[in-house]
Amino acid sequence: MKLSKPQLDALLAALGSGGGQVGERYVKLREKLVDFFLWNRSNRPQEDADESMDRLAKRIAEGEPVINLASYAQKIARLVLLESNARSRREAAFSQFSVTIAPARSQEEGDEKTLDRLEPCLRKLPADSRALIVEYYSGKGAALIETRRQMAIRLGVTANTLRNRALRVRRELEECIAGHAGDVQ
């Protein structure tokens, strides 16, 4: 499904009604949807998130009274997940009767493809961003907590800001590798 301009405008207006930057709120909602589908074992979290955003926009444009956008998005996501899971089950059942290329080779090729994407994505990532996530996510237990505390002091930011920065860099790198974004910041 492709959104018409009135549908997209309706979604952006609804996102803007909560204050803050509309673009940022759009991105955050989509990221939450992707995570929701991933954490619920969807095979295609990106596509399911896009489908949810499209349905959300369509319903709002049709005049559906939406009091709480976040809660409404969650309900739509739950429906899309049910449909996505049913489709995956149908495809799995169908594939049992199909002649396919050896799955092991497909998996290996998939690993190779992931690796092919890692290197250029790392090259696009600024050196300080690379260093940031390596330092932030290295170690464990008390040592990790202390490392992060020292990083926050050194960079002059709060622990929350540092965490969000590390999460953002990591996510951008993951999305670049997955092929869902052209560049990393």
Binding site: A70, S95, E108, E119
Partner: protein, 240 residues
């Protein structure tokens, strides 16, 4: 952010546990609260990094492996693996086509699972467990219908340079987890987890655990705490 939920509960959520109602409550918080969503993402990163570094306990590792076998996790695993190699000071060397990049940690995970059994076996595996590079050489075994127990053996010739055996086995759906029990005549048996990838399952066995001899490989599925034997295979291991 509202009062944080129990960390253990969030971990359960990420591992695919909890009741639908409990999952719904957490998801409600995710959609309502940006900080909470970020907090949960950080827990996810911790789990990923624990998985790739082999520091998760066996139960969590098994559950996370089932989730991470989904291709949608490939990019996350790649980043986690890269961070692990960087923090260890090792160059992120590209493996050859015959040695997938994730083989190092896959072997490490196997070593973790069977650590108890292996304690007196050899120190070589312990080295492999903590060494991300170079990736160990591996052998491969594809179990197919027709060599069930009692029938003719499938022969596996393993070269002396192989360190890890990759086992592929057809799996049927409908189970939460799969495992392969490896039994040898007059010797202790051991079990490895099987990750489902579509119609096949994949598991890893340190070659040191497979001295020449005759083995029975028992594929089992687990659903709601109950275990079911799905298939048996007879395999004769020979040195090459």
């Amino acid at each position: 952010m509202n009062a944080p939920m129990d960390d253990k509960q969030l971990r359960e959520y990420l591992l695919g546990g909890l009741t639908p109602e409990e999952r719904g409550q957490i998801e409600h918080r995710i959609f309502e609260d940006d900080d909470f969503a970020d907090f949960l993402r950080e827990r996810e990163a911790d789990l990923l990094d624990g998985f790739t570094s082999g520091t998760l306990n066996e139960e969590d590792r098994r559950r996370f492996a089932a989730l991470a076998s989904n291709p949608a996790w490939a990019a996350k695993l790649a980043v986690s693996q890269w961070i692990a190699t960087q923090s260890a000071g090792a160059p992120f060397a590209r493996a050859t086509r015959t040695t997938p990049w994730w083989l190092g940690w896959a072997a490490a995970l196997v070593a973790t699972v069977v650590a108890g059994w292996m304690m007196e076996e050899n120190a070589r595996l312990r080295t492999a467990k903590t060494r991300p590079s170079p990736a160990p050489r591996f052998a491969s075994l594809s179990l197919v219908a027709g060599n069930q127990r009692g029938g003719s053996d499938q022969t596996l010739a393993i070269s002396a340079s192989s360190e890890v055996l990759r086992v592929e086995v057809p799996v049927e759906g409908g189970y939460q987890a799969y495992e392969l029990n490896v039994e040898r005549e007059v010797a202790a048996s051991f079990t490895i987890p099987i990750e489902r990838r579509g119609e096949i399952g994949v598991g890893w066995v340190p070659v040191a655990m497979l001295p020449p001899g005759r083995y029975d490989f028992l594929l089992k599925g687990r659903r709601e705490g109950a275990e079911k034997l799905l298939a048996t295979y007879s395999v004769r291991v020979e040195s090459r």
